[in-house]
Every structure is written in C-alpha cells, then in structure tokens.
Amino acid sequence: MSLQQRFETYYNEYQDMVRSLCLGYSKGDQDLTNDLVQETFIKIWGALPKFEERSSAKTWIYRICVNTCLLHIRKSKNKKTEALETNHSAIADEPTRDSSYNELYQAIGQLKELDRIIIMLVLDDLPYPEIAEITGITEGNLRVKISRAKQKLNKLLSNHGR
C-alpha cells in the first residue's frame, strides 16, 4: 500500500477518534479543534514513512494526537496556524456541536491538560497498559492520576447537579 493510501485509510478510520480527543482537549472550542486535528494529520503524514506498524496504528495515532494536543498549549496563546485558506475551509465547515455536550466538555475542561487527556483515553475505553504506553507514565502512577481525576470530575459533576 502506498503512503497516500495508508494515510487515507488512517484518516477515514481514525478521524472521529482524533476529532473527539481534540474536541475534549480544547473544551469544545471548534477552531482550536480544527487546528489540532489538522496538525495531528500533518504530523501523521510526516511520520508515516518511518511507521513500521510494530505497534498498532490506533496506538500510534493516539500518541501523535496526544502529543500534538499537549505541546499545542504553547501555541494557543499565539496562534500561528499553518492552514491553507482554500483547503482549510473545506475541513473547517463543521456541523454545529450539540449544546447538550457543553457540560461534558466543560467538566473535562476543568481538569489539568494531562489529566484531561488521560481521562479522555479512559472514556475511550483504552486499557490502562495502553494508556501507559501512550503517555509514558508508569501504570502505578497512572492509576493514581486516574483515580484523582475521577474524584475531581465526580466533585464537579455533583456540584453542578445541585
């Protein structure tokens, strides 16, 4: 399979996964989500020639997406999007996000960047060893972080429900 075909296959297969992670990370901000999704796929394209499929494509894409989000924080205050005007518009024309999910994104958004990423991977039903592999955090440490994040989320949701 050519690089182009592989890229298109990955895009078709994983774009929803990437988008939802970016959307959660950006607390539902569509513009930032578009930037992050685009940046993730630009990085996937750049890294594709070296990807030998030793790990699963899904884990590999998660890693690129997670790292793109985490390191994007430095750009968010000084946006320098590399978007091409013409092509960007085709990708940026998103369906309007259902406002009922605001609460969900806002709750997740209260967590610190790293905890937000970890909790979204948990919500995506990823097994702990896989989350540990993606983040590079030891499994023991990861369990502690997840437990703390869950507690915080629980508190936030309880307060909101009152």
Binding site: Q4, F7, E8, Y11, N12, Q15, D16, R19, S20, L23, G24, Q38, F41, I42, K43, I44, W45, G46, A47, K50, F51, W60, R63, I64, V66, N67, T68, L70, L71, I73, K77, E82, A83, L84, N87, H88, A90, I91, D93, E94, P95, D98, Y101, E103, L104, E113, L114, M120, L123, D124, I134, T135, G136, I137, N141, K150, L153, N154, L157, S158
Partner: protein
Amino acid sequence: MEDKFDQLKNSWKEAKEGQSSVGNSSDMLKVARENHNKSKKTQIGNVIVLSLVVIGLCAFFYFLAPLQETLSRIGIGLMIGGLLVRIIIELVSYQKASKIDYSSSSTDTTQQAQTFYNYRKRIHGPVTITIIALYTIGFYALTPEFSKYFDTFWMWMIDGSYVIIAIILFVGIRKGVVQEMKDLKQINELQQSLSE
C-alpha cells in the same frame, strides 16, 4: 463515584456517535502534504535569508568596496563571521527541531521538546548577544576607512541608520525570545506533571 463516571462515559460515547465525519481524506492529504513542506521551507527560510546577506556582504566588499585597512578587514571578518555562526546555529536548531518525535510516548516527546527549547534558551542568551555585539563592532570598525570616501553627513547617516536597524532587530528578536521562553516554561510544567 463510578456511577457518575459511568454517566460521563455514556455522555462521551453519545457525543462521539453524534459527531459526523467531516472533510474527505484527499482534502486532508492535500493539506498535510502542503503544510508539511511549508513548515520545512519556513524553517530553512531563515538560513536562506542569512546566507543571501552573507553573499551580498561578500560581493559588496569584494567588488564595490574592497577596503584595504587592517581594522576594516577585521570589521568585515567580524560581520561575516558572526552571520556564519548564526547560520550554523539555525541549521543545528532545524535539525534538533526535526528530531522531536511526536509518535513517541508523551514523556519522551516532552523530553525532546524540552531539550530543544533549552538549547534555544542557551542560544538566546550569551551566544546571540555576542554575535550581535561582534557584528556591531565589525560594522563600526569600517567607519574610519569609509570616512575617507564619504563626508560627515553621510557617515552620520550610515552609522545612525545602523542604530535604527539594530533597534528594530532587537525588538523583533526579543519578542521571539520571550515567546520561546514562555513555551519552555509550559513544557517544563508539562514534564513535571508527567513525572509527578
């Protein structure tokens, strides 16, 4: 606690399912290809601009103003030498930046980004100041010989214009440095939260 979290999980799944796919793969491929190349060109762009300045200076001092005095030659050496050092630094920066592997684990990628920004921090400190100082000394070292060929008014214009250019450059460089230092601070915080 699990109940609340399960509710959240369900909402998350619903949100994911309700999200319709956007854009087709060929559009994204086009964007990825063009931006990937654009990013490389931007990084190499600085090196090309600096190289053109070096070529321009060499041509100027070789063909148009072949200065003879030792002080002038030292000045030319300092100006061109400083620029060459800067070009090397930019090339090393480019190489280090392209080594950041986003497909590694977050701890590894953050570590690589941290190494890159620490390198940039070192460069922005004494190295950049030294280069600018040597370039400035080199520029003003040309004044004695130039003043033999230009009257005082033009010498004031030449020397004065350098001050204006230097101020503009300083403001531009400072802005970039401040941003990069903010970036480094955030990466350090991220690295700390990964290791906590």
